[in-house]
């Protein structure tokens, strides 16, 4: 039996103009919800495509569910939801789903039964309307996304790979997807998804891997990661707008390494070796009204910023403005 659903060792993928993935090694534990985090162009999609054996690595090895990634039998046990979603527009929903199921080696009649179950579960088949008999382009965008989830999960895969699953989802579908992920995990499936929404990743994932420019920056369980970054982060809440004196203190490089200014609220990262108590004294000395001063665990977002740099993240996409 294998311990890791995905085992990637020293994988390199080069293109003519650039190296998409360089020397990537990572382990996805069995039954984990695993986040693949990184800015656009970091190599997430390339990595996913190599896991799916759509493209082959130039160097290194990938093994999936204990078998080499290019074992044809493996693809039937993987479910994949690509970042950009779409289906055959002119095709009937049921026929699309049966086709996708057959591509995963399912028999038509078995697939038909499953399709009915899933359509009912996602409210696409109710007493008065069976959307399964409609064409794809007669469905609303949200319904099309549901159909695409069904296509990903219909064959009951052991490994589910979701590329940016939350992008473009309305809140209701996002909730449905989150519930589905949790349920899949409870049934012992391994889920790997890429995202640049750190809040989502932090809440859903057991483990994450942050990659940037094709290189792994950091990986491990959320707990380990937070723990190893946990001692130097402070939360500071003020009763009024910060004074010039206070800002001068926060800019003191001997004490503070980095500060994320939210006007009345500050995420502060202490300089190496600095004493939180010394900082508190200096802040009190400026005469500011302090509502909160707390040593906190950093958010994944902060760790991400620290490791990748603010330039690596698209503003407005992270939920942190």
């Amino acid at each position: 039996m294998f311990d890791y659903t995905i085992q990637i060792d020293n994988v390199v993928k080069r293109y003519a103009a650039h190296v998409a993935v360089r020397d990537l090694t990572l382990r996805v534990p069995r039954g984990a919800v695993y986040g693949l985090l990184g800015p656009n162009g970091a190599g997430k999609t390339t990595t996913i495509r190599m896991i799916l054996n759509i493209i082959a690595p130039d160097e290194g090895t990938i093994s999936i569910l204990g078998r080499p990634a290019n074992d044809p039998a493996i693809t039937d046990r993987i479910g994949y939801l690509p970042e950009e979603r779409g289906l055959y527009r002119k095709m009937q929903v049921r026929r699309v789903l049966r086709f996708l199921a057959e591509l995963k080696g399912m028999k038509g009649n078995v697939a038909d039964r499953k399709i009915t179950e899933w359509l009912e579960r996602f409210d696409l088949k109710t007493a008065d309307k069976d959307w399964g008999l409609s064409k794809i382009d007669e469905l609303s965008r949200g319904m099309q996304q549901k159909v695409q989830f069904i296509g990903t999960l219909l064959h009951d895969p052991d490994l589910v790979i979701l590329d940016e699953p939350f992008s473009g989802l309305d809140p209701i579908n996002a909730q449905a997807l989150k519930d589905t992920i949790v349920e899949l995990k409870q049934r012992g499936k391994t889920i790997i998804f890429s995202t640049h929404l750190m809040d989502n990743a932090e809440r859903l994932c057991d483990s994450v891997c942050i990659i940037a420019q094709g290189t792994k920056v950091l990986d491990g369980t959320i707990r380990e990661i937070k723990h190893s970054h946990g001692t130097r982060n402070l939360a500071l809440g003020l009763g009024e707008a910060p004074s010039m004196d206070l800002m001068a203190v926060l800019r003191d490089r001997a004490l503070v390494d980095r500060v994320d200014d939210h006007n009345l609220y500050f995420d502060i990262e202490l300089a190496k070796g600095a004493d939180p108590q010394a900082l508190l004294h200096r802040i009190v000395a400026t005469g500011s009204t302090i509502n909160r001063f707390e040593i906190v665990q950093p958010s994944l977002h902060q760790i991400f910023l620290e490791k990748v740099g603010a330039s690596g993240i698209e503003r407005g996409m992270t939920g942190h403005g």
């Binding site: 495509r49 082959a56 690509p82 979603r85 055959y88 527009r89 002119k90």
Partner: protein, 428 residues
Amino acid sequence: MAKLWAIVKREFLERVRTKWFIIVTIFGPVFFGAMIIIPAVMAKRSKSSSEFINTRILDATTTGFGQRIADAMKRGQSPGAVVPQVSVIKPSELSQAESTATRQVMAKQLSGYVIADQRTLVGEEVRYAGRNATSIADMERLRAAVKDALLSQRLEGAGIESGKVRDLTFLPLRLSTERITDKGRGGSGAVSIIFAGAIAFLLYMSIIIYGQNVLRGVLEEKTSRVAEVVVSSVPSETLLAGKVLGVGAVGLLQQVIWVVTTVVMLKLRQPILEKFGVTSIPFSLPEISPGLGLLLLLFFILGFIFYASLYAAVGASVNTEQEAQQAVQPLLILLVATAVFINPILFNPTSRLASVMSWLPFSAPIIMPLRLSLGSVPWYELAGSLIGLLLACFGAVWIAARIYRVGLLMYGKRPTLREMGRWLSYSR
């Protein structure tokens, strides 16, 4: 294999289910049927036109020649039909008689009038004016009738008895043609040429239509990103093969329906035409031996695989319909260049041009079936053409599979030829 079958099945069924396919497939034979029946019915109209006979002959010859013309025109007409009227006129009153006749034609009492005068007697000119002056068949019959009349008058002038003259000059001659090939006599020449031309045209049309169809299908999968889901389940080569085979099967089905209904229609031509009261010349369909049928099928399959895989590669390398239209030009040029030579080769199937074009892989799938249906082709040319086409097929599929694999997941800028060249060397 099951997955390939799933793809072939989808490509086939989704196309056969469309209204477009059903309409075109049913409408095709109806169209062919109309092509066979309507011209024959039209020909009948112009043949036994009663207008031809509802004529006044203005005879200004003073020799009674007008009556001879009338007799000649009546020949072959059923008894009791309208008879041409003859008015004997003094040459000086001709212009007045003409204007009277013109008014009668305008009032639809007559179809037209013939003017016979001295120049007619010497065999120079006979004039006709009438509503049916543009009917080639009517005018040809009139000319023949006047010629007969002249001939019989001259023969009588030479001292031959008038009853005998009638027998001698009655010559309803028809030219019927038959073609001889290396294998012997084989149906009428015209039918054989029409048949070969139809085969070449059918192949050309289906390659273009269904090649485009493959291209659009690939582009749809690429732009809708379905391709990404599919190639995560099967290798891109399987998707490509399934698409080409599925679409090819649709094209083949349509052709089989067309050919079978057309053959049936041609067999039923006689009875149908009789319903319209037309007695048509019986003509025999060229015999298609099983061997020839098999060869035609083989050329269609190879030709389709050759072009369709290239069409698929084009579809995978572009992002929009507009880009596709540009990128597909080289393929279209190859096909159109071939089509341009269908006509000359049809009339000269043993020329050097014909033989060169059956060796070239891009024109062989159209030109070789054309030559095969016209008659026998030297075995070495047939073998060479087939082997060349087969090799070209392998080459095209090899190139297409690589371009397809890389292009399908490559979005954004349209690749240059050099970039596409580099794709060929990508492992995976």
